[in-house]
Symmetry: D2
């Protein structure tokens, strides 16, 4: 957690500011769960996904375990069993309930979880008032980490419930549909960047995850980045050109996956007598040709790029381009309540849709930056131990909480994962 130690937050203003941020983040989690019945909140549709209820408890367990137990004298854990039930993958903290069986936990119920959250929130309030300076300094860095952690789980709540609801033949909606502007896709252009010896990675004063550090030099050849995301209409052309049936377009592992899984389209698309429909968090509806294609794997993104005669960007190219183009940290994020990517605004110059809409697959494997070292202790398991067999995605999606993403932010998933909101931005050598 190199980056955590850069935080210097010990002033009264920091305490109340962090307390307000704590209240806001915690409340947003609860708001996401409001639309879901107790039965919905218990669903686990695959080992990679977790029940809503479990996310609510696990994020609470994080504060209890890493902040309250070490830093609030006299704190009594809400329930001694919860440490076992709601540890996700922290080997250093001890044994834990097997991940694929999270959906079996009908008890504790949603009422118990609400009480657990209230218990921890009250204790956190006491801590923020009562902690002595040095203790607060240590705790506040962990609180900031816990809030970023909870924001990640907010996105997971939406990803996971979308997958679960999609398996219900009734195709229930999580949220009401919002009218989307009827737009044509803007023209696809390629914006050139000169490359050279540059720096990437987090270097500023605010919070960042350890995997964004250290900031370091990279050499980039000149390159061009697409002005917007690949659209559903463009992806349909790939399908129509037998994209899912031509081995030469695919990485070998990708082709094996296509055949084994029987993929013929992105996740959540369904061929009907009246054409393709797509399942969204607002229910099923016809495809919109202008909206960005979403819920594709790295394999599909990479094959599409090959078919298009282009390639995916590296994460360094993506970051340098975003910085040089002055990309702002807003866009179609979770706070808009759309929970689905939208067509690019027409007439925008430069790089559109860099932040929000979909996470953009890069061709960069998720590896440590030069000089990277994970933090000591259990929180050191946060990122480093996943640095193999995964690809980096950049930019945030329509289910990412506002304020969470950075231009240096490194998201990562295995190349076959389709339940993240992953999409495609093309690149090419200049």
């Amino acid at each position: 957690m190199v980056s955590i130690h850069r935080l210097a937050l010990d002033s009264p203003a920091d305490r109340s500011g962090l307390a307000r941020r704590y209240a806001m983040v915690r409340q947003r989690t609860e708001a996401l769960a409001v639309a879901l019945s107790p039965e919905d909140q218990g669903l686990q549709s695959m080992p990679d996904a977790s029940p809503t209820k479990w996310h609510r408890a696990h994020t609470t367990w994080f504060f209890e375990t890493f902040v309250l137990v070490p830093h609030l004298p006299g704190y009594r854990p809400f329930d001694p069993d919860y440490g076992y039930l709601f540890n996700s993958y922290y080997e250093a903290v001890g044994p834990r309930h097997p991940r694929p069986q999270r959906g079996m936990l009908s008890r504790p119920g949603v009422g118990d979880i609400a009480r657990y959250r209230a218990h921890v929130d009250a204790a956190m309030e006491r801590l923020s008032v009562a902690a002595a300076g040095p203790s607060w300094q240590a705790a506040s860095a962990l609180i900031e980490l816990g809030l970023n952690h909870e924001e990640q789980h907010q996105e997971l709540i939406l990803m996971d419930i979308k997958h679960a609801l999609s398996l219900n033949p009734l195709l229930p909606a999580y949220a009401p549909a919002r009218p989307s502007p009827a737009r044509a896709a803007s023209a696809l252009e390629f914006v050139e960047f000169p490359g050279g010896l540059r720096e990437i990675g987090h270097g500023g004063a605010g919070f960042a995850f350890d995997n964004e550090s250290p900031r370091h030099k990279v050499w980039l050849a000149p390159f061009r980045l697409a002005s917007r995301l690949v659209t559903v209409g463009e992806y349909l052309a790939f399908i129509a050109d037998d994209g899912y049936r031509r081995a030469e377009l695919w990485l070998s592992d990708g082709w094996a996956t296509v055949r084994q899984e029987g993929w013929t389209a992105p996740l959540y698309w369904r061929a009907t007598g009246q054409g393709w429909t797509i399942f969204t968090l607002a229910g099923a509806r016809p495809l919109d040709l202008a909206e960005p294609v979403c819920h594709v794997s790295y394999y599909e993104a990479e094959a599409f790029a090959r078919w298009a005669g282009k390639r995916l960007p590296t994460e360094a190219e993506w970051e340098i381009a975003a910085v040089e183009a002055g990309v702002a940290l807003d866009g179609n994020l979770m706070d808009r309540g759309i929970y689905h990517p939208q067509p690019a605004e027409p007439g925008a110059a430069g790089l559109a849709q860099m932040v929000g809409d979909v996470w953009e697959w890069t061709q960069s494997p998720y590896s440590p930056y030069p000089g990277y070292r994970p933090a000591a202790g259990a929180v050191g398991e946060y990122n480093g131990k996943f640095m193999v067999n995964q690809m980096v995605l950049r930019g945030g999606a329509a289910v990412t909480p506002p304020g969470h993403v950075r231009l240096s932010y490194r998201n990562f998933f295995p190349p076959a994962a389709r339940w993240p909101f992953g999409g495609i931005r093309l690149a090419e050598d200049a």
Copy 2:
């Protein structure tokens, strides 16, 4: 459904009698679910088990599909999707939701299911009042089948929720524990029967499943049947004598299962520092040496019998013995609310524990009786298509509804199944 056609129920008395029985059976299902939260009712712990909520809906679907739609003019199904969601395995009725994904149905919720049940119950009431004679005659046989079907699912509700709750590290109880009499096991004796040319199978006027017919002749050599069930104490001696580690005691498939599954004791037993505990529907507690061993597979029952120098009875021996010994159709059944086998009453002569406590594995594969033919149509799928790879169990268990079991009743499960309440009664050649 040969047996159904034997029913002749067209009199006013029959109508009100059947209606009362309908109300009683349907109400018992609801009573079983009362102790379970909406989250509990959605649990599916393995493909063989179903959520409580699903059982409640499926039994209702049975009446809707096989009774109301064909026999109540103008009946409108509660929800057209439910035919897909709640068909279990009736290929003739159409496609259905995949069995292993029943636990994914957070919608419809428990409230919807309650309304579904009320809707069908109200229609059934109208039918019982309004149906013309011939229509009633046809319907009443199906109603009787539907009630017996629902009774089977009542037992499944308890079997399935027991399995699901056992996977929760909190080991929650379904029902409060009832004080059990502290008894020593009675002496094990063998009661002799002379055999000869006898008849087995259902031959009377009341309801029976088609698999109990036709009544037919069998030749039996003289044999002896144990006076009571095998106890936990006796089974512990088998374990202590390396029963789970000696290949020569096991059928080949059984031994392969023991090694693959890592079995070292019956299902729901757990070795702790303080000895074995057992999980019951009233929670976890220490073993009672005098109570019958339960939740063993056929493989374990068969291996135990070989170790004991005995064998399991055939289903014909069991039935003839029960008839000749005058076994009554009551015992430790569901209505006692214990939901667990109990020690045999001391001092009883003859055959104890034949009805209730545990289903008794026989050495008889589940095959059609000579001359057996399933009914035409979808209800013909009820029994016949399962007549391979299963073994017959007799006698009913502590979770079987009273009035449901008969001396000719043939229950059946695959030889590796342990979540039924299966136990052991020994036999030997005379």
Copy 3:
């Protein structure tokens, strides 16, 4: 091995007779392997099948382990490792090489195996000359068992190599094709038998496997048995009538298997542009409509019978019919060198094709006869431990050694097995 103890063979004539039979059986095994290269003899195409070379060694190991080591003083095993390599499933004899890895044993090579066989044959010769009377009496029963065991493995050699060669895209022939008589199928008739209280099982003086005993009474209702086997032409009508696509024709487990395995025809049939071809031990050729259908599972046999409005016979019906019809113990067996079933001879009265051509699936699960007890010691593992999850087949096939089969002979396989030469004879209630 109850039946073994009935043997009484201690006379000089017995010794030389048994020695001649030993030489003949052992030589036949070698003759079956002559057509196969060292590479062919090492093939293991699935866990259920074994390499030819392994069969040659394992049958030799049987004599070494059960006859020579206990009964020939001073005998030195050929190689101490072979006991581990060539034990099949005798738990009592000790650990053994894992069955699915038999194909990995490139060493010992075919030359080593030939030397192993010669070593054991020489020792067996010494035993037959030198053994004292009581020792010979014990040994001779085991020799007879060993010879019957080796005959079973001769059939397995042909079954297994057929399966292995069928996976080679070159479809190589094991043996040259023999011209088959061009015949139409004879008319299908049903021969009636009165039933009643009868006896089945082995009761004579000659050798029989323990599973054929004890001879015992059964009660049979009157029944009829088809005059010949079901033909390829009749089976094609089942296929053409969507037999593999209609769930209502199948046992539940059978239907699940059909869908999971993608079965659309018997094993070794292949749909080509010019119609169906069939792979035989003489290579691939077009189907012959008049020949018996072969390489069907129990599931397929049972579904075909249901489709035809008939049923499969029980094993008791089959045996009583064969005895009462005076069926002789010859037919299209291994010695004809055809290795494939042939059309029934036209104009034959009564029951044709009962012995030879194909093993006939019965509806009888493989269970112990009343009073059955396996022998003590390792040879007791021969039959009894397989008495679950299997169905009985009767009558022998075109790959069964002559003299091996009896009217009381009980072959058995799991209901999904298709690599045995299994076929169909219909029955019905009289």
Copy 4:
């Protein structure tokens, strides 16, 4: 195949030189197979491995398909079926025999394969004499590729047969043991390199695989590389320190693999009553503490490095260090006939064991170099399509043909692979 087009070989001297090299490489393949019986040559021990016989045929198919058919007028393929049987993974060439079933090909036999090789070799000789200039120019680049391809399969022959023989309980040796010098491990030192803006990748005139190009700039921070490989003795200390039981030392996927596979030591190690033994191509023997640890996965290499407080090098660091240290392209390679890594020579300065002994895992995922483009056509499938889910290894092993490896050579395997000769060299930040 960018690099191929750099070749310019059209002179009589080139022709005879390439012909001599062709003869030498082809002959070496045959020499590797001489020690193996026909049965050995048919073994396939896992889907990733292939039979020796198949390697001999596939390398021949490569010349037939990519050189003779397009470039030798009138060439007739040896057998039209071989194109199907011996295509490895070239989707563009057409369908092919399923990889996991290569071990089922008892036919064609080793004699057929020898004739196939002779047929193609004779045609290649005709081509080298008769081809016109432009045709030869095109062909010669493919011949060079084919020879490098065959050298790779020579290494695979040894890797694969080692795995297959290791599964035989007899633990047969492939080759006689060569006396190894009894040495202590030399001291482990770290050699520093300054980093900066450097170039890696193939840039010279000779042959290189396309994945080594284009040569390109990289920025390196200062670093240090270990002076020799990690030894068995050092690895034993990792095991003794509970290396295989401490989750915190492992990548998450690595830890999951350790638990699922039950790893407790490198592949081919076996714990015996007398300590560890190791299986080598010369049979089983005790461990030598001074020799390099071999047959570890990336996961194990990475965990060892973490335990040691170091890290693995990147491939750029490895290449720059090798170039700057003036590493020569010889070492313990296949031609020494040892087929196993050996202790470093004592007293050597600088970087020892960089070439030969073991392939050295780097922390670099196998990704395309900037500007990389695979060749058009089927040979373009050679490298690019594997660029995901694999890690780069550098330096060659004791089973790599001499002359095959380069300092820019990029070998690659999935992180769980243990049957390659993979070992460990440590690095650290300067």
